[in-house]
Amino acid sequence: MAWIALTLIAFALGVVLQARVRSPLANPTLVATLIVAAVLLVGGIPHADYLKEVQPLTALLAPAIVALAVPMYRLRALLARQWRSLVIGGLSGTLVGVGADVLFSRVLGLGDEARRSLLTAPATSPVALQLAQFTGAPPALAATLAVLSGLVGALILPGFLTLIGVRHPLARGLAIGAVSHGVGTARAREEGEATGAASSIGMGLAALLVTLVVAGVGRG
């Protein structure tokens, strides 16, 4: 129970910090991750032991993802009007993201395990985990890099999109969801319901596309 308490309080601290400091680094998920990681490392506690303890918290993740249907349903008229831009933008973005991961890990000569794991990073971590059997990536590393891709995306994408002049709430949400899935969607929701709903669509499309790409590569 102590680990659940630590995780909840660390996240709440992150939210308080975010309200006080206007910095993308004051992201509640990042703050909580660093606090919990520091305590585990200092105490010499393996991540698996921690995971077992916080199982009740993890059990809420699946219904929370399902709950993303609610903002999508509320905005159904808007999403239906813009489906072409969402589908084409989301699929192209995910494809470019996967392509860049493959290309740059070759160019930089990354190890085999990291290269295979990065292939599924633009998809949500349960997808990365399940696809590991096809890509030959170590499942835990594939899931870790996927979830960190979400975290890094949540930190850098909103500012980057503003920098390159992407202001449309749907386009911003879609871009964040297409490569940084769940954690990114949590961040996108801070910008508004439309941004959050578009991000859920980006996440769903990325899950589908990365699965198809890996299945195609796996067969070939």
């Binding site: 991540h47 219904p63 190890g111 870790t144 769940g182």
Partner: protein, 134 residues
């Protein structure tokens, strides 16, 4: 599934409505997982559950007010629910300097992929009064 009268469900107290909503959400997540297990699709059960719930809302099998409180509550702390997974990076600290390269590749993929998605989507967006966030 029994379908309670909307008038009755609308009069439920907030905590009961939350429990009802959570039950429906967990039910759809379980249904999504079951569908994935049966079909062998390499998709996460929760994303399939999301699609099922969206369809059920559209077909009026599920009423929005049953699940709105629970959904908004869970989504308000969505970032919290990823913390157990993100902490997993400590299992790979031994990779040391390799992390720099991993993050570099990841960042390049995020900026290029996110940039293309954002620019394309805003170019292709049909002109309409910009969606208000209110």
């Amino acid at each position: 599934m029994t379908t309670p009268e909307p008038s009755t469900t609308a009069r439920l107290s907030a905590p009961v409505r939350f429990v009802l909503g959570l039950g429906v959400l967990v039910g759809f997540s379980a249904a999504g997982q079951a569908l994935v297990t049966v079909t062998g699709l390499p998709l996460p059960g929760s994303v399939v559950g999301l699609a099922l719930l969206w369809a059920a809302l559209g077909l009026k099998i599920v009423r929005l007010h049953w699940i709105a409180d629970a959904a908004d509550g869970l989504l308000g702390i969505l970032g919290l629910l990823f913390v157990p997974a993100t902490v997993g990076f400590i299992g790979y600290l031994s990779a040391g300097a390799e992390w720099g390269l991993w993050l570099l590749v990841m960042t390049a993929g995020l900026l290029l992929g996110g940039g293309v998605a954002g620019v394309l989507a805003s170019r292709l967006a049909r002109p309409e009064p910009p969606p208000t966030e209110a």
